[in-house]
């Protein structure tokens, strides 16, 4: 079984955005089929106008892995002729995995009737129409019921902190730490650093375990020199089942340029 990342790529005129989901599967073809089914559910929340342009599926553990599902398969929104003229207005859905992990999902490309014309509940606040609420809850239930996942960083417990006392820097600015780390590589590929002598290195750094009991860290460019003190803790990437998907509130977030402009940069010019 592998964990797959599924990106939905949306476009609307000169704007575009993507949504990311995760699923576990034994083969690409399985997750492609899962993704297509999810796309059909997602399209129920899309107005006429915005387009689910494509789906990109990749094994999250394999760098550069990609499988593309083109637009002529996933198609346009399915909410009839309900238009959408302002995709910045979205609905914020909170995805939760148990008590500890949550992720934001902003559903945009919605029909205007579901946002701007809904019952007005105060300045800048929209209430979902019954039609949208029902459709969104159906989508949320689908995500939960069909084992879609969120990817989270699981940090080791405080008592797993290990004291850095013997970091050595080489000429390439790579730090080597030796010690009793034999069990670490199986836990993850990231470590959290804190209380270091040089604060620029604070945060999460990737490491490469080149040998048993040896960890190498290459600080980001400009990270500065690192002394020999501090603690670090492993950070593990895990995939957790979404247990709750709840419609929270309307949101307003700008989108970037689309993926499918044939050339050049996106223009901000308004054309009549």
């Amino acid at each position: 079984m592998a964990w797959y990342k599924v990106n939905f790529l949306f476009g609307f005129g000169k704007q575009g955005w993507s949504e990311t989901y995760y699923h576990q599967a034994t083969a690409n073809v399985d997750v492609v089929n899962f993704s297509k089914a999810l796309a059909q559910e997602r399209k129920r929340l899309m107005a006429y106008g915005p387009v689910l342009e494509a789906i990109r599926v990749s094994d999250d553990a394999v760098k550069g892995d990609a499988q593309l599902i083109p637009s002529n398969i996933v198609g346009t929104g399915s909410v009839g002729d309900m238009p959408c003229d302002k995709i910045e207005t979205a609905w914020y859905v909170r995805l939760e995995a148990g008590f500890f992990y949550r992720r934001q999902l902003h559903l945009r490309g919605l029909p205007d009737d579901w946002t701007t014309s809904a019952e007005f509940a105060g300045p800048g606040i929209w209430q979902p129409t019954p039609a949208f609420k029902a459709a969104a809850e159906r989508f949320c239930a689908y995500v939960v019921d069909n084992q879609w996942l969120i990817r989270v960083k699981q940090r080791g417990a405080e008592n797993e902190d290990r004291l850095v006392t013997n970091a050595v820097r080489d000429d390439n600015d790579i730090w080597t730490i030796t010690g009793d780390f034999a069990d670490w590589p199986q836990f993850g590929k990231c470590i959290g650093l804190r209380d270091l002598e040089v604060p620029q290195l604070y945060g999460e750094q990737r490491y490469v375990a080149t040998a048993v009991n040896t960890i190498k860290i290459q600080p980001k460019i400009g990270g500065g020199a690192w002394g020999v003190g501090g603690h670090f803790r492993l950070v593990k990437i895990v995939y957790e089942d979404i247990t709750t998907a709840a419609l929270i509130r309307a949101s307003n977030r700008k989108t970037g340029r689309p993926f499918f402009l044939t050339r050049g940069r996106a223009s901000n010019r308004v054309t009549e």
Binding site: R56, K63, G64, D65, Q67, I73, F260, G264
Partner: protein, 272 residues
């Protein structure tokens, strides 16, 4: 060794120049991400040459795009022409695997790999037994149907293993056994026939699904694929797939065959 021949390899917002390692143990070579028209087919299989933009970090020293220290912006202007609707090279290399057969270098004519212009002859892959390539109009199936596997599957592919990307094809089912339901050699309930087209990138999902509705015929039944519902432009380009599922006919001394008759590629019809 390989060339996508202008097929869509990934979705990006901007072009850039970087390096890719085409095979394990080889030095990375410079590559350029450029734009192609929305009408171009996508690469039909999972592959290892996606952009690192979709990864959490740009670190990779394996097969595929490299974490090059100097990644430069590129306007993404495409070459003057694209030729071909299929990639060149063994599919194993695109998947980051080692092909069984020796790989021959690409021959370039006017800056374009020659194989982008001339696709190799298609073959037919399928079961029963080990995957075997058949050239031309060769029946696939059992010659004595006393012990047929539970399903027959056939795919029209090129000889190098890449799936064919066709705009049309014709496949027929041949069965010279009995159609009497009493003896159940060929029964609508137990022997559904799937003769269909699959969309690019999706291997198992058949768009045409027709149960066996053969008119009882003392010798054989023909089943043209153009009568399949759902084989519209949503699926183009697509792969040619045919399968017979369910318990096999048990009438010995008879022949069950899937026969690919012809295919259409680039507006030209080819008879196998």
């Amino acid at each position: 060794m390989i060339s996508p021949c202008g097929l869509v390899m990934d979705y990006l917002r901007s072009g850039y120049r970087t390096e890719m390692r085409m095979q394990a143990g080889q030095e990375p070579v410079p590559v350029r991400w450029f734009r192609v028209g929305k009408d171009r087919p996508v690469f039909p299989e999972p592959h290892r040459f996606g952009s690192l933009n979709w990864e959490d970090d740009h670190e990779n020293d394996g097969i595929g795009e490299q974490s090059a220290p100097e990644r430069t912006y590129d306007k993404g202007k495409p070459p003057a022409i694209f030729i071909g609707t299929r990639p060149c090279g063994p599919i194993e290399l695109f998947r980051g695997q080692t092909p069984d057969k020796p790989v021959t270098p690409l021959r370039y004519v006017m800056g374009v790999p020659e194989c982008c212009k001339t696709a190799p002859a298609p073959s037919i892959l399928g079961n029963p037994g080990a995957i075997t390539a058949y050239r031309g109009r060769v029946p696939l199936g059992c010659s004595s149907c006393a012990n047929v596997p539970g399903a027959l599957n056939a795919r029209l592919v090129y000889l190098d293993g890449l799936p064919g990307i066709f705009t049309g094809f014709q496949v027929n089912v041949y069965w010279n056994g009995s159609f009497l339901e009493g003896t159940r050699p060929w029964n609508a309930e137990w022997n559904p026939v799937v003769v269909g087209l699959t969309c690019a990138g999706i291997d198992n999902q058949l768009f045409g699904l027709v149960t066996a509705t053969f008119v009882p015929n003392p010798s054989f039944g023909w089943f043209p694929s153009d009568s399949i519902p759902g084989t519209d432009e949503r699926c183009s380009p697509y792969r040619a797939v045919a399968s017979l599922a369910g318990p096999a006919p048990s009438e010995s001394g008879r022949t069950l065959q899937l026969i690919f008759e012809e295919f259409i590629e680039g507006g030209s019809k080819y008879v196998l």
